[in-house]
Amino acid sequence: MKYESVIGLEVHAQMSTDTKIFCGCSTKFGAEPNSQTCEICIGMPGVLPVLNRKALEFAIRTGLAMHCSISPYSRFARKNYFYPDLPKGYQISQFEHPICEGGFVEIVVEGETKRIGITRIHMEEDAGKNIHEGNGSYSFVDLNRAGVPLMEIVSEPDIRSAKEASEYMKKLRTILRYLGVCDGNMEQGSLRCDANVSVRPAGRKEYGTRAEVKNINSFRFVEKALEYEIKRQIRVVEEGGKVIQETRLWDSAKGITESMRSKEEAHDYRYFPEPDLVPIAAEQRWIDEIGASLPELPDVKRERFTSEYGLPEYDADLLTTEKAVAEWFEESIKAGGQPKAVANWMMGDLMRLLNEENREIADCPLKPPQLADMLKLIDKGTISGKIAKTVFEEMYRSEKNAEEIVREKGLVQISDESAIEKIVDEVIAKHQKEAARFRAGEEKLLGFFVGQAMKAMKGKANPQVLNELLRKKLS
């Protein structure tokens, strides 16, 4: 029998605000434990939360970018449970009245565009972190992260495969980074993903029983974890068993999901409206302002890159995944670069050099107009495409301009026919035997002569001119 999987994702995105959601503490990552805390975020008696307006703005920004409606009446709620990293004994979250509802994002899988519905986006505070060290009889608690603003983005169960889930995650990350509301770093925990997974015989309408998979903490594992879970559920069903409603943890070391708790053991969070915070009624004017300030989003940008610059889908997609990459591209175009050539150099040599050093394009030592200038030198025939490779790498490393490098290293291409002719004559004179064989029909020897001539000219000969002259002289 064929099976179909049904997946919905709950994604937690840490907002990149400077301060926490309900107090003025810094949100910087990696500080001394408990150095970024105050009486509010460690839940001292009598303290009260005050909403960081920036966090609200970020949530609205995200909602608008994902085509959600922004609720005219939104509320915080308390989610109650005991844990040492949760200083108040409850997490301030949203429950009945989230800030954003009913949107979608589009993904492309195997050339097909597909819409994944967004059920809701809500704001909440992060918890701290328990640190288990020593002999196991005690633990430490670091509350630096307690109160860092999060968005929970909940999708509809519209995802049908592990591949789609992975594409969806990548798309969310791209949008969030475009908006500047989250750095999208899964390994550092600023993007976390829980998945609700079920399977059903293909063609059936009713959903199967779902399991929740937690702890998928890297992009690499989104697809792996879900593939495993889908196979596991199919196996259970095929063996005549029943999938049970439970929470399962992804173990990346073992490559499997394991049962954490069953439905019966599930928490009762006793949600109720947070009485310390007044309901949010974001003014329409402010929402409109936020909407007007949204950057061009990846889907639109990709479309434009194909229509405006005539780029192939593949190139446009690659160049618009990161806003900074797209901007680099367009700056280079603005400086006179030919689009397809700029795209090729970026997707090839530039990405390779950046990857080698694990650098973001934002830290790229090479500036977009430099590439454009180099391309002009190729067009003019000053340098060959081959030499350009050297020039490009040299520009990247030395931060000098192409012309400077070409001049300093004497890399100017020689197109002057008389200069090349002189060398060609010398080479033929030196290799009479080979010349005879060529004339006798051994055509492949042309490469040999090109190599010899280039060697003599230190690679600077215009290959086209050289080829023509050789053919003429050898015939």
Binding site: P45, V50, F82, Y90, V141, P275
Partner: protein, 484 residues
């Protein structure tokens, strides 16, 4: 006349004229404390050294001419308001050793206004109770009869004011915790409109109901203290972005033609006849001053106690979750994390607090939420609507503050429901968020004070003060002092 027996406005005048020093006042107050505190037990912490230092600072300000409205005035603060460097226990074992590293907004404002912290007063643990018998430390005695309770939960503050162990005090009121003890101790106590006074630094019992207010020897002092503590606070989102008038300007205005609503639901069967008689007499007094009594109805009054105990306990069950022994306060080490939680909370909280945490936890549980919490919120809206309707016809509402005068210690401790009914007349005011004040309006034949409650419109404390002052000036009740 001893300095300790005077009120804020009298001492203010004397201090500003240089007739007395702040040091003389705090010395007088502490001599009174030394004389009667053993009998009354109003305080949990007496920061004598700090108090004298604050008084010395006040005297320096006075001689420098930088004196403000509370400069040199010893004020007692209920021990659920955080005072930086001074223990804040909520009369709970779980916070016995808790010293806040921050100051509540109200005490910050008092510091700014130059006050002297007389001490931190006793309360029912976490403000849950009506007698101070739920204090984790000791029961405060009613200065009028030390075999009786002072009311609660701000019983320590009310008793301290009544026994002249301070000049004025702050209390907090979630369901009557300022007004009921003020009534039982024969002093003035006001719960301002919800949002009028910042709750920042007030240890939460029920966040949507809690409000800080003054407990004073007279209405004028109440207005003065209210002036100091009121106002929008950026650290409390629920504090109202609304201007604060000069409340003392409401003192002395005429009440001719003022419409006084008398709700039939507040004159009930089972009420002490002496209380009933005193309140009716007070209404006649208002009439003689030119006010116009109007019969009104608040039809949902009967649901107030049940509504209150669902909402207040629900919020409390969450507010008190932070006392887990992990970060501060008391910890009873267990064999593992869960055991430590359980033992800490089992040993740290008293029985009434545990009862309310369990009630609230139940009311919020899945499957019960709609029947309890949500329903109670709906009823709360109806109760609020009742007041809004009545206030279209009248300027203030007059009721008894408490159905009885002070009861004996132990009289109601075995029956929580009886205890809950002690707040039957004060609870609706918190649910509606409107302001209420209790002023002395008579004595029982046993010489126990009786209180009159006046209820006002949202953010109309001024009318309450005008009416209360007019009434106070036409009676002698506030001048009586307990024999100690």
């Amino acid at each position: 006349m001893e300095l300790y027996s005077l009120g804020v406005h009298e001492l203010r005048r004397m201090l500003d004229k240089g007739e007395v020093t702040a040091k003389e006042i705090i010395t007088s107050v502490y001599s009174r404390i030394d004389a009667v505190e053993q009998k009354i037990k109003a305080y949990v912490t007496l920061p004598r050294t700090e108090a004298f230092l604050m008084a010395e600072k006040a005297d320096r300000d006075l001689s420098a001419g930088t004196n403000k409205v509370m400069t040199g005035i010893p004020v007692a603060v209920k021990d659920n308001m955080c005072t930086k460097g001074v223990p804040t226990t909520c009369s709970s074992k779980i916070l016995r050793n808790f010293i806040p590293p921050y100051e509540s907004t109200v005490t910050s404002k008092l510091i700014e206004a130059g006050y002297v912290l007389a001490g931190k007063t006793n309360l029912d643990e976490f403000a849950m109770g009506s007698s101070t018998e739920n204090s984790g430390f000791h029961t405060t005695r009613n200065p009028w009869d030390t075999q009786r309770i002072p009311g609660g939960s701000s019983g320590g503050s009310a008793a301290a004011v009544a026994a002249d162990e301070c000049i004025a005090a702050l209390g907090s009121d979630t369901g009557g915790s300022i007004r009921q003890p003020a009534s039982l101790c024969g002093v003035v106590g006001m719960k301002p409109t919800y949002g009028r006074v910042s709750r920042y630094g007030l240890v939460a019992f029920a966040s949507s109901l809690d409000q800080i207010g003054p407990i004073t020897k007279n209405v004028t002092d109440c207005a003065m203290l209210l002036n100091v503590i009121s106002g929008r606070d950026l650290r409390d989102s629920t504090s109202a972005p609304i201007g604060v008038p000069d409340f003392t300007a409401a003192i002395g205005k005429d009440i001719k033609g003022m419409k006084i609503g008398v709700p039939k639901e507040y004159f009930i069967e089972g009420m002490d006849p002496e209380v009933d008689a005193a309140v009716r007499e007070a209404i006649r007094k208002f009439e003689s001053l030119g006010a116009v009594p109007v019969d009104v109805s608040l039809p949902h009054t009967g649901y107030a106690v049940a509504t209150y105990y669902v909402l207040a306990t629900s919020e409390a069950s969450s507010n008190l979750a932070r006392y887990d022994g992990v970060k501060y306060g008391f910890r009873a080490e267990g064999k593992d994390l869960i055991d430590t939680y359980m033992r800490t909370r089992a040993e740290g909280f008293g029985p009434e607090v545990k009862r309310r945490i369990m009630l609230g936890t139940y009311a919020l549980s899945s499957g019960y939420y709609d029947a309890y919490y949500r329903k109670a919120q709906q009823v709360r809206t109806l109760i609020k609507d009742d007041f809004e309707k009545v206030f279209r016809e009248v300027d203030v509402i007059v009721t008894p503050t408490s159905p009885t005068a002070a009861f004996r210690m132990g009289e109601k401790t075995e029956d929580p429901l009886q205890m809950y009914l002690a707040d039957i007349f004060t609870i609706s005011v918190n649910l509606a968020g409107v302001p209420g004040i209790s002023v002395p309006c008579g004595f029982t034949t046993g010489n126990l004070p009786i209180g009159l409650q006046l209820i006002g419109k949202h953010f109309d404390e001024e009318t309450l003060l005008t009416a209360s002052f007019a009434y106070e000036q036409s009676t002698e009740w506030h001048k009586r002092k307990p024999a100690l």
